[in-house]
Subunit: 292 residues, 2 copies
């Protein structure tokens, strides 16, 4: 197996953990980290690497087939830490967005995913009404709550980095996500804690404490410089950038979070690398940088 | 004169204001908007367009000569709304940074600039100690306050967009900048209100109110999509993007701010356009979108 390092050549500081290593008990592969793998390949990769959980993406699931994916996951004995993603609630066609989110909730239920990650949407083209868009998000979440509760799936509101405010998510801080989530019962609306999106926020530690049982999903990847020309692909492997993961892990742990920790890396170089190598590096870096 | 529009072809909604138009009384050209102009060219351009104030940059001033620039400004009867920039206080060589900032304060005093814009610096290479860097900023500001007071120049702390947190400014919100500024007398440390950096922040309106007499400088430009591959150059002309300038102008006005409003646009297309055309568009868009 090729040793996979980003930027490259950095020597391994610790051996790659072997399957069965108890330190991997909470590690989850978000499928976007191995974007070129099918669901079947990702499931098999997790089994080889001893990674016990996976965060699925709807497009990959659709390509594999919903029932077939559910079967693969069950056969492999993996947990589904989340399904990505619902959301995009700020556009003109509100009913279409709600319908699509109900389908996403159905899919999550069938996959055994207890958490549906919600990327809430940005501003419609030409719009300057940021406050209005934020209000529409809260309203639409309220409309989805009864359906989510019926399906036994929690809506996991994700604050995205402010650089995505106009085009992807008008929720820019964990505090904002909680302001909405707290309007609903804890078992119906939670929040995503994502290191990449929130590491700059001076309030993030206190907001993780506030989130407590509302932490639906804990996602990690690093902030690396220079930013990729397409900022969607700017995420890096843990340890290659400026994020202090221990801070996040300690706060989440102190807040009572004992769930999976998903590694979600959108990065063209990671996508080009062999999947097994990515998983090996990811497991090692997780142990080095995230575990506390 | 070529009509200059970005993205291009959008018809003028109002005529370009003529020199002497009272609506231009608070408009300032930040020199970075016409980066390819020398100080002399920018001063002459402001005079032709009837723009009564200018925000200077140290590198341009150095190229023109400090005394010569001061003379040009005085002869033209322009106000200097700010000098950009001091800062970069987070690196290993603290004394060198402080020395450079004292030189910047000297230059501001000689130019008649009452406000020195401070871009405080990011994380040192390899560092993950964001809180430590933020503390170093506060300490270094404290060290500079006596010298700034002697020179009659205010340190204007600028919160930069969180996407620059690692490489340019660990101050990411107006609230953070105020938390530091309020440790010092109002005439010695102020804050910059910049629409591009803070438009996403749900707290920005309240923080502008809080800032009140500490508003040193009010800078405008727009958030346009898609982001430029080099995010440093992602700024757009007012009206081309998603920022509601009236909101900022109203809040600043309600907070008692009556100073200049600087247009500061880092944008490769703007830099390629003829300077006079840029100033004409800038004046028109200012009247259309910013004035309230």
């Amino acid at each position: 197996m090729t040793e996979y390092d980003i930027p490259s050549g950095r020597p391994a500081e610790t051996p790659t953990p072997s399957p069965g290593d108890p330190r991997l008990a909470r590690l989850s592969l978000n499928q976007m980290t191995t974007r070129n793998w099918t669901v079947a390949e990702a499931v098999a990769g997790c089994q080889r690497a001893g990674i016990p959980a996976i965060g699925l993406w709807r497009d990959h699931v659709a390509a594999a087939g919903l029932a077939k994916t559910a079967g693969l996951i069950a056969d492999a004995g993996l947990r589904v830490s989340s399904l990505c993603r619902g959301g995009f609630l700020t556009g003109a066609d509100r009913n279409a967005a709600l319908d699509d989110n109900r389908r996403a909730l159905d899919e999550a239920a069938e996959l055994g995913a207890g958490e549906l990650v919600m990327v809430v949407g940005g501003l419609p083209e030409g719009s300057r009404d940021l406050r209005g868009a934020r209000e529409r998000v809260a309203d639409a979440v309220g409309d989805l709550v009864p359906y989510a509760r019926e399906r036994g799936v929690r809506l996991a509101l994700e604050a995205l980095h402010p650089m995505y405010c106009a085009d992807r998510a008008v929720l820019s801080t964990l505090g904002q996500a909680l302001d909405i989530a707290e309007q609903f019962p804890v078992e119906t609306v939670g929040v995503v804690v994502d290191t990449f999106h929130t590491w700059w926020d001076p309030a993030v530690g206190d907001q993780i404490t506030r989130a407590a049982a509302r932490i639906s999903c804990f996602q990690v990847c690093d902030w690396v410089l220079p930013l990729a020309p397409d900022v969607l692909l700017a995420r890096g492997m843990m340890g290659d950038g400026h994020i202090h993961f221990g801070f996040f892990a300690q706060r989440a742990s102190a807040a009572g979070y004992t769930g999976d920790i998903e590694v979600e890396i959108f990065n063209a170089d990671v996508w080009k690398a062999p999947g097994d190598a990515v998983l090996a590096t990811m497991a090692r870096r997780y142990v080095e940088h995230v575990l506390v």
